[in-house]
């Protein structure tokens, strides 16, 4: 009984750590701690302003240094912002650090090696144009409320199984012919 009392909590901690570790294994690590919240909620930038091709092409595109340079330049690092609390200071410092990484990429004219999170397998064809422009589907329906996320996207919002696609196709009364997606 004594042994159970002693090893019980230890065993429990090991199990919790293992679950946490296994759960996080599928997550990708992004090169910059990108904050959607700041861009979408605070600066009120629309999804399509950065993911420019979502309406016209199959791939929505992930913005890179060229798009970032439209709004950001190195002079930002010298800007002194009014900081009232410790929390503000930490937040500002974190922003500065991430911006430094971005400016390093921009200075070297090197592309940010973003890791793609939402991808479909090679044997399934997905067109953003078909869904966004023709279907009129809002980004949040598949990608979740990404705009409220303060940390980078590390895993897809939906599991994207074939059944999930087909359910929606059936509801929206669009083709469920295999050739609509597999070619």
């Amino acid at each position: 009984m004594k042994k159970l009392i002693l090893f019980g909590p230890v065993f429990l901690i090991i199990v919790i750590l293992a679950v946490w570790f296994i759960d996080g294994m599928g997550d990708v690590v992004q090169p910059i701690q990108y904050n959607h919240f700041v861009h979408v909620q605070e600066e009120e930038i629309e999804c399509l302003e950065c993911h420019q091709y979502a309406e016209d092409y199959a791939r929505a595109s992930i913005p890179n240094i060229d798009e970032c340079a439209d709004c950001h330049d190195e002079s930002e690092l010298e800007d002194e912002e009014e900081m009232t609390s410790d929390e503000d200071i930490i937040r500002q410092e974190m922003k500065r650090q991430e911006k430094k990484i971005l400016f390093a990429y921009m200075a070297q004219n090197k592309k940010i090696p973003w890791r793609q999170v939402n991808n479909v397998p090679n044997y399934a064809y997905f067109s953003h144009r078909r869904h966004v422009k023709l279907g009129g589907i809002e980004c949040v329906e598949c990608h979740g409320d990404t705009g409220k996320q303060t940390t980078p996207i590390v895993r897809p919002h939906e599991t994207r199984s074939m059944a999930w696609c087909m359910d929606c196709h059936e509801k929206e009364n669009v083709s469920n012919d295999c050739y609509a997606c597999h070619h």
Binding site: A58, D177, C178, Y179, H182, H183
Partner: protein, 227 residues
């Protein structure tokens, strides 16, 4: 629903092989190499069957491009145990690779031998892999594949027509082989529409189909050579 079909004018065909190359590049068809090719494992969705008549010096060479005939009664679909190949609403015989188990029954059933089997994981020489068409899946080892009438082009054409808020026109959707043919020997369009170019060509007295006697009702017709 349209019924897509093809007319190949043998009088215009010079056997240049442009259609074969265009098809191969468009559809990410694997390059198998000389050794495997000698074993009968050449992978072509569009092939040119060449026949020689007579003896030297009076030799007559005939060329016959051969895509999948997309039969109205396809024997291949009837033998597939998993439904990986079927006739879709638009008359195209589909081949769904993730569904295929590689039993090769369809390959045996096809009277015109258009189906090819992936004996190996596809490979391309040098940096050719980077030039693969992103609209077409690269088939894995162990599945059967064949001509799809460039179905991905149909999907794109439909998308474009929907964006422009108009009906799909005949010229919107052309497979790579028909597009590349320098002598315009290959015509493609909706055979269900009696006024389309292919329907008119089909009524030409020179028109004939291969395998009609088998009752497969192919949707690829040929216009015979004029002697």
């Amino acid at each position: 629903m349209p019924k897509w079909g093809m007319i190949i004018d043998l009088n215009k065909c010079t056997g240049c092989g442009d259609c074969v190359t265009a098809c191969k590049v468009e559809n990410n068809i694997a390059v198998v190499g000389q050794e495997e090719s000698a074993n009968g494992r050449t992978m072509l969705w569009m092939d040119i069957i060449t026949t020689y008549e007579g003896e030297f010096p009076n030799v007559k060479v005939r060329h016959m491009p051969r895509p999948c005939f997309h039969c109205e009664h396809p024997p291949c679909t009837k033998v597939c145990p998993v439904g990986a190949t079927y006739l879709n609403d638009e008359g195209i015989v589909a081949q769904i690779y993730p569904q295929c188990i590689g039993c090769r029954y369809c390959q045996v059933a096809c009277p015109i031998t258009v189906k090819t089997f992936n004996w190996y994981t596809p490979e391309w020489p040098g940096r050719m892999a980077e030039a693969c068409n992103p609209d077409v899946a690269v088939r894995p080892m162990g599945v059967v594949e064949k001509c799809t009438f460039c179905i991905h082009r149909l999907q794109k054409a439909k998308e474009q027509a929907a964006v422009e808020k108009r009906e799909l026109r005949d010229e919107d959707y052309v497979p790579a082989c028909a597009e590349s043919c320098p002598t315009r020997a290959i015509s493609f369009g909706d055979m269900g529409n009696p006024t389309s170019k292919v329907s008119q060509l089909k009524r030409n007295p020179r028109a004939f189909a291969v395998g009609e006697d088998l009752g497969i009702e192919p949707k690829v017709y040929y216009l015979s050579e004029v002697e």
